[in-house]
Symmetry: C2
Subunit: 409 residues, 2 copies
């Protein structure tokens, strides 16, 4: 097969897998849904074609090992996830698994000084239990009884969902962890953003997954009659919030690598003829450096308060959640760059603005990510697409890495 | 009775009437509700105490005439409404009726060269049939079959609601119109705004009821991942809308007598981690001069489009409704001013930013309005209040006007 044939096969397989859906006519595969079994059946078949024998561990991950001739060789993990958001595209997740499998197929009989374990994680998106990364947490031994007690919208716990899928939660600690001699982990994923496309690049090596702060703001002014209240006597919560929204946009636009978003807003009482008395909105701030993120949050909270003060509007900011930035392994990232170069591709350096299983894995195993261009930056959407030349570049880079990687260098 | 006794009685009666409510524990009296009968009973009793005989016309207005000794004398109308918004205060509407009655009582036997008709309009707020001023329209002969076919939330038409109240819609044209020799009409009303309070004034004479334009705006950008989309590649509909909201506030703040309000806003998809792709919001613009209002609307539509253009956000503006400004009768307004002065009060000149029955009446009969200070500017709220000294000033002004008014001067 030519590299292009392999790229086309990867895309075709992603699209084939995307037809297996909990909801007919779209691609929706929630964690441990009945259709997940069909996805496993198809993936297992493709693994067998590549000479691998698949097993399912007790958190529902499908995994297979390409063994080195040296039984006591260390293990490299290639992974991504196969659960999806509702009405998803075909590539967010499955690409990393199917491309990993294709890389193994491309290696053919080439002897390597390490085993390769390919893992299709069962739960990354956090949709069914409103909590993400359950299966990668299990792989690194971080899944707790508390996690197993989370319930879905029907009140089913994670533990019961596993049992209903013929899995045994008591055996997770035995069957789910990475091999103890795992020395590196690599996740190939679509970018899910527009940067590669805007830079005319095919692939990128990820330096870090950004840290994230989420806040909610309440602007408390005074609801008044829109006809009888002169402008000078108003305490318009929406005008104060609008000044804040513009500050957020200005500040983030003027600080490299920072993104900040007001995604939700509600103005009450919400009548055409009433000056808004109360506005609530959210703020999402992300940056690869935690100090920069903290500085941004502090600055924007101050600006919100100033926007309110001018207008007699009280502002309350509440921190909802915070996630530290997770750097990828520097040495492994450099090796991935070198592999891209050797394969004839100029990989960008990027930060991942979205969360990935790699965030969980990286604190236990040297980890890195390879991003593949997302046409139009579109993801979490049936219109999610991928270009064969980009897949070819990613595959060439990964294969080149595998051929040159030495566990102890 | 002293003037202060009369003011206290007006306030006590308003509060007594406010206890008659469709919903226990609040003040809610919708057009033709069963409790409206009780309100009529109480008002009729007070009218009888003042020597007047009440009748109900076929749109549900309660009315009574203080007759001049000259049978063929012309008629002056004192009016306001007694329907309320849901969970209303005690003074919005009833004050004008009860104060009018007190003015008549204060006249005692003083002969006047005109009849005085006191009218408690049945429908001003537009709550039950989502359409306002039904009863003043009937009084000026503007009520149409189309109005009678409007339905409430239970599907009951205005015509049927009248019949259920033992009224005859076919007789509206006979029983509801003003006497044909009506030469002036005066509405006393709470300000429902904060201007009198901020100017330390008791009362104001209304020069005009402002014109009003209502628009809806759609900002159509692109929904994107809040983590993976750099600021420079966003088409954030909410940021564009925020710039527009600030333009609205700035422009109106810099133009005398203009008020402009964005009262409703919705951002979609409305997720914390998604850049808003679509924002819809409303704009309410009011000004006593129609040209100034039109200029404001045109300017703000242009500014909305400019705010979108910078960010690749398409903006669509839709005119929802438009109401022309209604000037009060100049001569009558001057006479009311003079009466206030004679009574020892310094009445402000104000524009009414809210709609009133006077808007309807003014195009048929020389009309003016007298505003009474609203503590805190609060209205449409159980906390709506009034001060006795302000009521005394309004009563003194009205009585003085009645004593000096000559129909043909």
């Amino acid at each position: 097969m030519t590299p292009n044939d392999r790229a086309e096969r990867i895309i075709a397989r992603c699209r084939e897998l995307a037809r297996i859906s909990d909801v007919e006519g779209e691609t929706t595969r929630l964690f441990l849904s009945p259709k997940t079994r069909d996805a496993h059946t198809l993936l297992s078949w493709w693994m067998r074609e590549a000479g691998l024998e698949a097993r399912t561990d007790d958190i529902g991950n499908l995994r297979a090992v390409r063994r080195s001739a040296h039984d006591d060789a260390p293990t490299l993990v290639l992974f991504s996830h196969i659960d999806t958001v509702p009405n998803a595209g075909a590539f967010d997740g499955p690409l990393g698994v199917i491309l990993g499998l294709e890389a193994i197929a491309a290696l053919a009989q080439t002897p390597l000084p390490f085993h390769i374990e390919l893992i299709a994680f069962s739960e990354e998106e956090g949709v069914r239990f409103a909590f993400p990364f359950l299966s990668s947490r299990a792989a690194v031994g971080e899944l707790t009884d508390e996690h197993l007690a989370h319930t879905d919208k029907d009140g089913i716990t994670v533990a019961d969902a596993l049992r209903n899928f013929d899995l045994d939660p008591a055996r997770i600690a035995t069957t789910a962890p990475f091999a103890s001699n795992t020395f590196a982990a690599i996740e190939v994923h679509i970018e899910q953003g527009p940067v590669l496309e805007s830079e005319n690049a095919f692939i990128a090596v990820v330096e870090a997954i950004v840290g994230q702060s989420r806040l909610s703001f309440t602007f408390e002014g005074q609801a008044n009659h829109a006809g009888t209240t002169p402008m000078a006597l108003r305490h318009d919560a929406l005008v104060a919030a609008a000044h804040f929204i513009i500050e957020v946009d200005n500040y983030a636009s003027n600080h490299r690598q920072l993104v900040a978003t007001v995604g939700r807003i509600e103005a009450l009482p919400g009548a055409m003829n009433v000056v808004p008395g109360t506005v609530t909105c959210t703020l999402d701030v992300r940056h690869p450096k935690d100090e920069s993120r903290h500085a941004a949050v502090a600055h924007l909270v101050t600006k919100a308060q100033a926007a309110g003060e001018h207008r007699g509007v009280k502002v309350k900011a509440t921190l909802l959640s915070e996630q530290r930035a997770v750097p990828m392994d520097h040495a492994l990232t450099q090796k991935l760059h070198a592999a891209a170069e050797r394969a004839g591709h100029d990989a960008l350096q990027l930060f991942s603005g979205a969360g990935h299983d790699s965030m969980i894995v990286a604190s236990h195993v040297p980890t890195t990510m390879l991003f593949v261009r997302s046409p139009g930056g579109i993801s979490h959407n049936p219109a999610e697409d991928i270009r064969a030349e980009d897949v070819e570049a990613a595959l060439g880079t990964l294969v080149n890495l595998l051929l040159h990687l030495h566990p102890h260098q």
